[in-house]
């Protein structure tokens, strides 16, 4: 699968002309196959930023380029062939099977009236196999556990064959085992990924670069070691953050306390 080069130039967003910006101009770049983590307190503008990348909210000004092409200069369908998203929305109880859901990923690749061909079916089968969902493929989506549902939604995004994958809080509401599975999945996909995460330690484990947002402003962009420093994290989240070395694994780990 071809993976894309994502560049955002001074993108910002506000709901309407006379309203304040929810996201002030921010620029960043994600190289092919790399993972960018977007972190920040609630209301920092993470969702707004992601929405502009997955072609849901058009940037008020600024440009998003995928492999040198302007994402907002192309049709919604063409953009959908470049960027896929795994969001927190859950399908309603409409009796769709796992395979039905994964097959939705082929929607932007089909012309208006053609039904899905053998080529599409093959891609869907591969996406299901890659997420190890074969044994569930005929199951009703409503009957799956949270972790299984998340894997189905990732398989759906893979069937879309995107160059960039956006994930919004993929570990939310999952137990620890499934959180770790999703994180290792992010590492193994080999796609250009933009992911928003709440857990800073997970973010520093899994991401090649971190974008730190607060109140719609960028407070840092760079490697996890630079951006998730004690000072920057303490200032952004209004806590006392300490970077400690775990004695057994020798890994860096952030701990947090309320400031006294």
């Amino acid at each position: 699968m071809r993976t894309g080069h994502l560049v955002a130039k001074d993108i910002c967003w506000r709901p309407a002309k006379n309203q304040p910006f929810l996201l002030h101009p921010v620029s960043f770049e994600v190289y092919p196959g790399r993972v960018l983590g977007v972190v920040g307190p609630n209301g920092a503008g993470k969702s707004t930023l992601l929405r502009m990348i997955y072609h849901y909210q058009k940037p008020t000004t600024g440009q998003i380029m995928v492999d040198g092409q302007d994402l907002w200069g192309m049709s919604a369908k063409a953009a959908a062939c470049k960027v896929a998203a795994v969001l927190q929305e859950q399908p309603g109880a409409f009796g769709l099977t796992v395979r039905d859901i994964v097959a939705l990923g082929r929607t932007p690749h089909r012309s208006a009236l053609s039904s899905s061909g053998a080529h599409d079916a093959e891609i869907v089968t591969q996406a299901i196999a890659r997420m190890q969902l074969e044994h569930l493929s005929t199951r009703n989506f409503d009957t799956l556990s949270g972790g299984e549902r998340q894997r189905v939604m990732v398989a759906r995004a893979l069937a879309q064959q995107p160059q960039v994958l956006v994930m919004d809080e993929p570990t939310n509401h999952l137990d620890i085992r499934h959180q770790l599975e999703i994180l290792s999945l992010i590492r193994s996909l080999g796609l250009t990924i933009v992911v928003s995460l709440h857990d800073l330690n997970m973010a520093s484990d899994v991401c090649d670069a971190i974008l730190l947002l607060k109140d719609g402003h960028c407070h840092g962009f760079g490697s996890a070691d630079e951006v998730l420093s004690e000072k920057l994290v303490s200032d952004t989240f209004l806590v006392t953050a300490q970077r400690q070395k775990l004695s057994v694994s020798q890994n860096q780990h952030l701990t947090f306390h309320l400031p006294t």
């Binding site: 929405r51 997955y54 072609h55 849901y56 049709s75 919604a76 369908k77 063409a78 953009a79 959908a80 062939c81 960027v83 896929a84 998203a85 969001l87 929305e89 859950q90 399908p91 309603g92 109880a93 409409f94 009796g95 769709l96 099977t97 039905d100 859901i101 939705l104 990923g105 929607t107 932007p108 089909r110 208006a112 009236l113 039904s115 005929t138 199951r139 009703n140 009957t143 879309q160 956006v166």
Partner: protein, 346 residues
Amino acid sequence: MSERAAGQPKSRFPYVIGAGGLLLLFSISVAISVGAVSVPLHTVWSILINQVAPGTMEQDWSKGREAIVWDIRFPRALLACLVGAGLAVVGGSLQAVTRNPLADPHLLGISSGAAFGAILALMHTGMFLGLITVPLFAFGGALAATLLVLAVSQFASATSADRLILAGVAVSFIVMSLANVLIFLGDPRATHTVVFWMLGGLGLAQWCHLAFPFAVLVLCGAYIWANAGKLNAMTVGDETAATLGIPVARFRLIIFVVGALVTGVMVAFSGMIGFVGLMVPHIVRLLVGGDYCRVIPASALFGAIYLLWSDIFARTIMAPEDMPIGIVTGLIGGMFFVWLLRRRAR
């Protein structure tokens, strides 16, 4: 649903459609056969075949029977099929774009709007555009009610599934009140007819009227079926559907307008027949699974069968009186609604 049962719907689809087709033919035959004057099934078929290919059957029936079969009961049966199919397809597609398993043209107030428009034409404006006046006004009313429901749900920030239905019920009450004002202000001699028409009935079916519902069903049904993939995507969520390249707001509006068109025309010819759009798609999903490529055609088929049998029941339970069919579908649909609520609560 158990894993075994869920694994079969796709491969079961041709059999379900085949069996449904046979059941439809049988249901039409029965619908023509029973009534105040009972006509044996073989006579029904002989008359029908003789009408299509004159002279092929030896004529052993009276002129009166031929008139009952060909001029009264056959168009009535076909109208039942068209209305049932149309309402079921509209219900199924509205459920997807509102992501609400309780969506139904009746519950969302679209039928009330159509009734309002039809009453306006029947009692006040007169048929100044000919035969098409009532369906056209019904469509206008349905469309206005639809937009009103959307506006109310925006205004009340009622974006969640259950609250959209509440918005629909509220609009339905308001529009019904206005429709009743129209009846109250109208010619008292026409009141009885209009009130009976509103309760739902297929008794006014005539050959020359069938072209409108037929054309609308074929065109709108084909459009909805061609967009089955988008309907599937809409059940996941607005943002996810948008990331699949679907212009979500525009598509939802189109489905609402198409739904208003079908509902308006069906109401114009048959009055208010509720809950068909709610019930049939749910039952169909149990048979063929949730993929709208299969749900839409199967809903059309079983909607037709359901309304045929509702009409047979309504005509025979108090024979020779015709009970309004809306009473039958309301009774069955209301109980189904309660069952659906209970199932969703668990």
